[in-house]
Symmetry: C2
């Protein structure tokens, strides 16, 4: 007796509809401006209905964060066909940086904001397939580089972490407005050149010395 309970598929459909609305808003106006109320209005639901499908706003942030990792992962996946580890490492860096620049909102969600991580922390078990794939690809690439004679005497994981930290550092300083600030005051960059590209070129020179 009673009203028909929504089955798994129907629930997933609503979840997706909410997520689409959230994504559109968030890609158009950024995370800050993406409120539960606005998401609800977009799909003609009452704000509180959202809470029947997502635990809280961090839950939505985390779900979008996973989408971001899927996109980045797909871009990395293409590189698995590059044989040379070192060439692949360089390409990964370039892809990572252009992903950050072209998907600034996703990047913030994936690597800068605390919120999605807080959601994970609250969960008992953490599934993280998407992120695992991306970092795993970097780890494999570093170990391939090692087989090619690079990074002798260094711990693979630490090298991977440092490489990630470097490109993330560049991207996050750029996206958060800190880089342009320093650049205009302290770095004379040729008009037609991009600070990140300049820096990345030097990074490649540094990596080449690792052989």
């Amino acid at each position: 007796m009673g009203r028909k309970e929504k089955d798994k598929q129907e629930i997933e459909d609503v979840r997706l509809k909410i997520l689409e609305a959230a994504k559109n808003l968030f890609l158009k106006e950024g995370y800050e401006a993406t409120s539960i109320r606005k998401i609800a209005a977009e799909i003609k639901l009452s704000p509180t209905t959202i809470y029947l499908y997502y635990k809280d706003k961090n839950d939505i942030a985390y779900t979008l964060h996973k989408e971001g990792f899927k996109i980045l992962g797909q871009q990395f996946a293409v590189l698995q066909h590059v044989e040379s580890g070192f060439e692949r490492l360089k390409a990964m860096g370039k892809i990572y940086i252009s992903f950050a620049i072209q998907n600034t909102d996703f990047y913030q969600l994936m690597f800068i904001m605390k919120e999605p991580m807080e959601f994970i922390a609250d969960k008992d078990f953490c599934e993280w397939e998407e992120g695992e794939f991306a970092f795993g690809a970097l780890q494999k690439t570093v170990s391939d580089c090692k087989a090619e004679g690079y990074f002798k005497g260094m711990n693979d994981n630490n090298v991977a972490l440092n490489v990630w930290a470097l490109v993330h550092g560049l991207c996050s300083l750029k996206l958060q407005g800190h880089l342009d600030h320093v650049a205009s005051a302290h770095l004379h960059v040729p008009e037609d050149r991009n600070i990140l590209d300049e820096a990345f070129e030097t990074l490649v020179l540094m990596l080449e010395k690792m052989k």
Copy 2:
């Protein structure tokens, strides 16, 4: 005629009182929890009075951000007595990282949050003595390293930027909760060791190869 206008000093006194309250709150409960209303309550002023002394919340964020740079700058200043450029570079890295870990809130304000930068962007001219000093110290150190034979054929500024980006990348990933997430899943770190210290050790190995 009329009520006595507050002179420069009196205005500065109130500004400082507000800033002290803001700092206390922000060091105790973080930036998020530091609202204009709470700051005002702390010093028994009405919330709107704050706006007579600071343009908006970003103004306060920016003023605290400058304080942070003063602290970091003082720590860097001590290192100017280290003769060897390379030794100084390593020490700067260690100091930067421990500053980030021990002053997480200041670090967020200085290098992660957009707000203080947004305030600067709104101003017509940008004074940035504090930050200039810190980055200038790094630039000088890199050029000293170069004189010692490191970073041959590389642009000084780009090297400095990359070094900064790397340590910032490590710190920000750590502070924002992204590092622990990856670490538990992908990096087996010895119980008694810190991920950042581990990574930094490898960074030093990498820098040593730059000679």
